[in-house]
Every structure is written in structure tokens, then in C-alpha cells.
Symmetry: C3
Subunit: 359 residues, 3 copies
């Protein structure tokens, strides 16, 4: 970062947040300091991701970012599963999925689209992402659809079988996208298209850091974002309850927005640099990772704690996930985006937010 005051401010807010967490009991102050620190770390993560993506290529960079971004959510969710707060877990997973598909993708498309008339990315990747999203919807929909005909034990068996199959599918997707079809899903095709039209090299400026430093910053800023997220979540509940907001709204919107701050900033940064492939990989890849990897992993982890969790989401959560997946898949399927498509995603997010707030 070129700004002289950035590093001092980062250190001050982080120390301040730690001090507030351990020594203060005033929740609004804790909340405010943690938020500020989180935003600065998210900005640093955005820069670090950009640099890593420069060295590693768009897709691997996007994958790394999505994984680091979800590490925070996975850790928080494990603590919730341990306490048996399954409804809160599912609400925050739902919120993460729709937040990534609608808010992160919507803002990326909107701000990227204001700068570039049309942005494009690999259509084969877009098609596979759409099919994987559909798989995620199907998989979460099946236990609910057949719920009436199954007893509690059978629902758990179905959840375990589905979880195992999903993790298998996710591992095979990694084999497919990172090994056997790495080249086909890469950034070349999009690059060629741009070359035909008015070619602007996506990243003209060299990254500020070397490869090693970039990766280190990626790891460190992810760690601090996870830490600050958790502290913030701890105080946000009492703040939210003071404002009279429902648990579903807090779990699915507030926690999810804050927990995904990293993805938000990184994806929007990349979109505004016309690296739409990496931005989509973060937004869509992150929600796929949650539904195809984080959710089934939590089912198995719940077994370790001796409190088996199933995969049965509420109809409201399923409706929200299905709606998000359909509109995001319809918009991204052609591998070409613009600002209006971002507006559509944000409108659906606002509608779901309104309904979850009132329910």
C-alpha cells in the first residue's frame, strides 16, 4: 500500500480491538473498533490476493482466496456446531451462500461494469459453475423434499450419504479444475477475446510485493480477519438484539456480510481491474465451497462431538438459496457481464433481506 498512514492505522486499530475485547465491556465500542480493523485487513487482503493472483494465475488465486475467506466461516461454524446451535449454523451458511452469489457478485459486476462496458470470463468455467450451483441446490433440496417420508434416523443417514458424496464430488472438482482440465478453465480464452477488441492488459502495474511476501500477507491478513470477525460477531449479537433484529436476519445477513468482508473487497478490487475471471471465482467459488465442502464437513464434524447435525434447511432458507442460485447462474452462464446484471443481483438481495428482516 502506498499510503504512509495505512500500516500505522492497521496496527493501532488491531491493538485497539484486542484491548477492547479483553478489557472493555462496552459492546458498541468493541463493535466499532473491530469493524474498522476488519475493513483495513480486508483492504490488505484484497491487495495481497491481487498480488498472489498475479503470480499464480486467476483461478488458483481465486481458489486460494475463496479458501482463506471461508476458513473464518468454517472455524466460527465449528464452534456453533460444538454448542449444538444447528439453526444458527444453517442460517449463517445460507447467508454466506446468498451473500456471495448476490451481494459480492452483484457489487463486483456493478462496480466493474461502471468502469468497463462488458467484462468477460471463461464460458466453460461459467457453465460448470452453474451446474455445480444447481447440484448444490438439488442436494440441499432433496432432504427437505423427502422429509415427510423419512424418520429422524433416516434423515441423518441421508444427510451422511449426501455429505460423503458431496465431499467426493468436491475433491473430484479440484482434480478436474486443477489437474485434468486446468488449461481449458484458465484465463486464456477471455484474454484472447479482449485482445480482439480493445485490449487493456488486466494488470499493468507490477505487484508491490514478491511472491513469498504476497503469500505471507494473504495468510496473515486472513488470520486477522478471522480473529476480528469472531470478536465482532461476539459483540454484534448484543448490538443487534438491542436494535430488535431477529436471529434469522442476524445470522443470514449481518454475520454473513461481515464474515465475507474479505471476499467482498477482494472480488470488487479484481473486478475493477477487469480481472472478472478471478472475481467470479471468489464470489461463486466461495459459495460453492460452502455448500459442497463446508456444509458436508460440518455434518461429519458434528458426529465427532456426538451431536449429529442433519442437512435439512428450513423452507425459507431453501427458497433463498434456490432463488440466488437460479438468478446468479442465469446471469453468469454466458461468461459476459455488465453493470445492469449487477443491479439485478443486488435487487434480489435487497428483496430477500427485506423478507428475512420481517419474517
Amino acid at each position: 500500500m502506498k499510503n504512509r498512514w495505512f500500516t500505522p492505522l492497521l496496527v493501532i486499530t488491531t491493538c485497539g480491538s484486542a484491548a477492547a475485547h479483553f478489557f472493555l465491556t462496552n459492546e458498541p465500542i468493541r463493535f466499532a473498533v473491530a469493524s474498522l480493523s476488519l475493513l483495513l485487513w480486508a483492504a490488505l487482503l484484497g491487495k495481497a490476493t491481487e498480488a498472489v493472483a498475479h503470480y499464480a494465475g486467476e483461478r488458483l488465486g481465486g481458489f486460494l482466496n475463496a479458501t482463506f475467506g471461508n476458513a473464518a466461516e468454517l472455524i466460527i461454524a465449528i464452534f456453533l456446531v460444538k454448542k449444538g446451535l444447528f439453526d444458527m449454523v444453517k442460517a449463517s451458511l445460507t447467508g454466506s451462500i446468498i451473500g456471495n452469489l448476490l451481494l459480492v457478485l452483484g457489487l463486483s459486476l456493478f462496480f466493474g461494469g461502471l468502469k468497463y462496458k462488458t467484462q468477460s470470463f471463461n464460458t466453460m468455467l461459467a457453465g460448470h459453475n452453474a451446474s455445480l450451483m444447481l447440484l448444490a441446490v438439488i442436494v440441499l433440496f432433496v432432504p427437505a423434499a423427502f422429509h415427510g417420508g423419512l424418520d429422524q434416523q433416516e434423515v441423518r443417514t441421508v444427510s451422511l450419504v449426501i455429505s460423503g458424496l458431496l465431499i467426493l464430488g468436491y475433491l473430484l472438482w479440484l482434480v478436474f479444475s486443477m489437474i485434468t482440465h486446468k488449461k481449458e478453465l484458465g484465463e486464456e480464452p477471455a484474454g484472447t477475446k479482449e485482445a480482439d477488441a480493445n485490449f487493456i492488459p488486466p494488470t499493468v502495474d507490477e505487484p508491490a510485493w514478491s511472491r513469498g511476501v504476497s503469500i505471507l500477507l494473504l495468510v496473515v491478513s486472513t488470520f486477522f480477519i478471522a480473529l476480528q470477525s469472531e470478536w465482532m460477531v461476539g459483540s454484534i449479537e448484543s448490538v443487534a438484539h438491542a436494535l430488535g433484529w431477529s436471529e434469522l436476519f442476524v445470522g443470514a445477513f449481518l454475520i454473513a456480510i461481515i464474515g465475507n468482508a474479505a471476499e467482498h473487497s477482494a472480488a470488487i478490487f479484481l473486478a475493477m481491474k477487469n480481472r472478472m475471471g478471478a472475481a467470479v471465482e471468489i464470489a461463486v467459488g466461495s459459495s460453492l465451497q460452502i455448500s459442497l465442502f463446508v456444509a458436508p464437513t460440518l455434518v461429519f464434524i458434528s458426529l465427532l462431538f456426538g451431536r449429529p447435525m442433519d442437512l435439512t434447511f428450513t423452507p425459507y432458507e431453501l427458497a433463498a438459496i434456490a432463488v440466488s442460485a437460479f438468478i446468479a447462474s442465469s446471469i453468469s452462464r454466458d461468461g459476459s457481464t455488465n453493470w445492469f446484471e449487477g443491479v439485478l443481483l443486488l435487487i434480489v438481495y435487497a428483496i430477500l433481506g427485506t423478507v428475512f428482516y420481517l419474517v
Copy 2:
């Protein structure tokens, strides 16, 4: 119109219809004369739209036609809202949406496809239309899906928020399609494709009227179609009840077919001249305008009358709208059409008609 007898016939039937409306009480005669007059005005509107589209370009011409075509429905719906007949309003909106997506588009594809083997239009426009249709379905589906968890007041709040967001989205769509991305959504790409293959200039004959006369005829014929539609609707109810048809069927099919006569004839005319871009713009654009602009506007207008209307459609109406949007979007997404795709749309229309008749 080249036919010497066209103008006299138009004047005679219009005067006859007015005479029947003010001086006769025999409903079947009123109905028959108004129908005949309506058909002739619709034919004139078709020609006028063609001429305006010649001067204004396919998309603006299609948009003007869709707007003029929906003016009639908006006026009728406002009168129904004033009387508090919300169920009838929603049935006729449903009927308009499915009538445009299935009947108008189906007939255009079928008759256009009989003449030209494959007809194509801008795929970017097709993709956006599909996404907008999906948004419309989502938006009408959300209040119904969350209905159980909301009280009457909250349903109204949700309906108002959604209506505001939809109107915002529709205005931004106009900005997008008429200003920022006008060129990309235009007719050139389709034109280029045709040029590659066996090029037949879409409109070989010069329009019969100048630009000003064409626009005047567009406005005048739209006005008379609205007038005749209303008179016809007035008498059709008693005719239909005499035949023992249900209110839902009359609202969703009979009123919708007659109210959309203008779109029907104009779209089919254009399709048979191989101007598929304009035909699709009329059919799909008209149903989008109804769901994204007319319906939310009626919610706000209902507030003015002191009788707030919500956006909660019945499950039957939602099923019909969803089914229509999915099949129409599946067929039009690739920007290429043929007669068999028209048959598919007409089959779905016939199935929905049968079910609505019996329910």
C-alpha cells in the same frame, strides 16, 4: 393499406361499435361489432408499428409497441383496482404475462418459422430478457413463499418494498438498454449473421407512410384498440357467464387474449417479415413490462385509492407464470428460433388453458 375497402370498413365498424355500446343492450351484438372493429384496428397498428420500427430501429420500435400495447391493460387494471377487484386484476396480469410469453411468442415463432428455416436475434438481448423474466418470477414468488411467516401488514410492506425495487430496476433497464448499451443490444449482430448466410433485406418495401404519419397512426390505433377492448370487456363478461365459464378463465385467457390483440398481430407481422428481434421485443418485452412495471405501479396506485393491494398471487397463477417464463426463456436463450419452438410454446399454452378452464 393497399386495400380500397379497408378504411371505409374501419370507420363503419368503429361507428357501429360506438352505436351498439351507447344505444343497444344486446350483449352478443355489441361483442361481435367491437371484436370486428378491434381486429381491423389491430391490423392497422401492426402496419403502423412496422413503419415506426423502420424509422426507429427494431428495439425502440418494439419498446414503443409494447408500451402502447400495455397502455390499454394498465387503464383497464386501474379501473379494476379502483373498484377493489384485486383478484380480477391479478388474473388479468397473469393472463397477459403468459399470453405474451406463450401465445404471442408461440404464434410469431410458428408463422415466422414456416416462412424462414431459422430466425435469429441478438443473443445478448435474449440472455438479458431471460434473466429479467427470472427476476419477475422470483419477485412474484417471494411474497407467496414467505406468506406463512408474515402478517397482513407485513405482506403489504414487502409488496411495497418489492414494487419500489422493481420500478427502480425497470428504470435502470431502460437506462441500460436505451443509453449505455444501446449498440450492444441493437440489431446489427443479427443482421451480420444474415449477411453471412443467405441475405434477404428484412424490409424490402418502403413503409407506406412518412415518419410523422406512422407515429400518429400508432397513437390513434392504440387509442381505439384500448377503447374497443374496454367495450368488449364490458360485454364479454355477460357473454362468458352465459356460456358458463369461470372468472379465472375469463380474466386470465379471454380478457388477456383480446387485450393483447395489438401485440399479437404486430409481432406476427414482424416475424413473418423476418424481423424476429422486434417480434421478440414485443412479446417478451410486453410481459416483462407487465410484471416489472405495470404490476408494481398498480400497487402504488392502489395506495392512492386508499385500498392497498399486495403482490401475493395464487399458487395457480404463480405456477402458470413460472412455467411460462421457464419454457420461454429456455427457447429464446440461444437467440435462434424455428417453427417447432413455436409449437412447444403453443402446447404449453393449450395445457394451461385447459387446466384454468376446469379449475
Copy 3:
């Protein structure tokens, strides 16, 4: 077949199966012998289909195969309709549709994709197949969605009207795909694409038989597969009941897998020879034929027996069909396939199998 022992083994198992069927009462032995004979006939059918496809072109060959493959199911279903076992008929139709869309297509994509990095077929055909699948889902969904508002007699009327429209649509599809747009849906476009890349002529080896012998073998092996399927189905029920499996699982999975053995082997053979167009035609074409032709035909045939059957499927069956159609259409829409897309289809099949087993 080059193997010297193939023909003797085929004759021995077929005679053995006949002997077991008529003279033995030990169900497991009957089952085992019929299975073995069935597998060998299926292998022969695979070879014969390949040879016929060589002479007739991919699409006609695929169509012939799908038709011969479904002849067995139609015959079995007619016997079940005659006995009034409507639930079993619908379960086996459901099983056939999802078996073809998920298992047959999934295995073809997977094994074909292991050999060839990316396999492609005509995108126009893929788009029409997707739209037809959607039509099938809509059509089976409508009677169930409006079930609440209709009495028993009206459900039958709706079923008859829908069946008539479906058969009309299917006949027009044959006109479209075999007459008016035969060339556009043919194999050329895929062939050209391959030519651009690394061209391997799809069938380097000449078929072993002449045109006439190939067709004869197609007919004969289809006949024996139908015969062995029926004998196997006769004994499988008692075997299955001994194992404690539910009727729904047996109808929708076991009977469907065995009844489609012919399609399975033929489609996988063709996929592994990089003739993906013909493989998709068998898998998707077969499930379309069942939903658009076999099911409505059975409704009319049920009238002849004086026991009218309706088209109302159970919610579980509808959910399974909808899920299969959506994922298969999402995957095949782009006309390009790979091994991972096969994995996705197989995962969904495994999930549905688990749920149907437990329900």
C-alpha cells in the same frame, strides 16, 4: 464380435434362461441366468447399434436405438396397465426417465470423458433436447400442481387432453428433426469442430456386418432383451422382497436399470468411440420418448382396458424427474461434455437412489 466363445455362450445362457423360466421354481437361479443372458444380448445390441449408426447416421441410429430400447418398457408397462397397477407403471416410468438422464448419460460422459478430454455434439440439438425435457417436466407437473382444484373426473380429462397434445408434439418433433431441420440437427457441426482440433475419425473400423445383417441383429437382440427383461422382472420381485426392498425402489431403480440395459451398453460404447452425438441421442432421446410418447400412449391404452389411468405422479416422483431434467439440461445445454459432468450426474443418481431406498 471377434470372440470365438461369444456366440456359443449367448445361445447357452438364452436356452438356460428359457429352461429355468419354464421348468424351475428357484427364483435366484432364474434371476442369475436371465441377468447373464441379458448382459450378453445387450453387448450384441451395442455392437449392432454401432453398425446401424455407421450406415444410418448418428441421429437416426440413436433414434432407432432409443425406440427399440423403449419397446421393452412399453410392452411391460402395457401388461401392468392391464392389471391396473398404475403406481408401479408410474414408478417404472419415473425410473426410466431418471435412469436415462442420470445413469446412462452419466456413465457415457464419464467413460467417454476418460478417453477424450472434451467431447462435443450439435448445440442446436442440445438446446432443443433441453427445451423438450423442460416441456416434459412442466407437463407432468401441471396435473399435480392443479390437483387440489380438480375432481377425479376433471383430472382424467386434463390427463387425456395433455396426452393428446404430447403425442401431437412428439409427432411434430419427428417431422422437425427427421424432415424439415434434419440437416441442422445432424452430426456435421460436431464433425467440423473435431476437424479443427485433433481430428480422429469417430469410427475408424468398418462395422463387422452388412447393413441388412446389422438391422436384423438390432431387431433380434431387442426382442431377446425384452424377453429376458420380462423374465427377470418376474423373478426379481420375489428376490427383492426377500432382501426387504420397497416397491418404489424396485420399480424406479431395479426394474429401470435392467430394462434400460440395452441403452446403457449402447450409449457407453458409442461415447467411448467419441460418437457423443449418438450417445446423447440414446440417453436423452430415450427419456424424452418415455415422457412425451410412452406415458401419454399408456393413458390412451388404459381407456381401451376400461380402467382410465391419469398422469398424476407422486410428489417424490415429480421431484426426482424435475431434479434430473434440470441437472441433465444444465450439463448438456452447451453441447460439450467431460468426465466431471458425468460424475455430477452419477452423484445426483446416487443421492436419489439413497432417498428412494429409505422412503
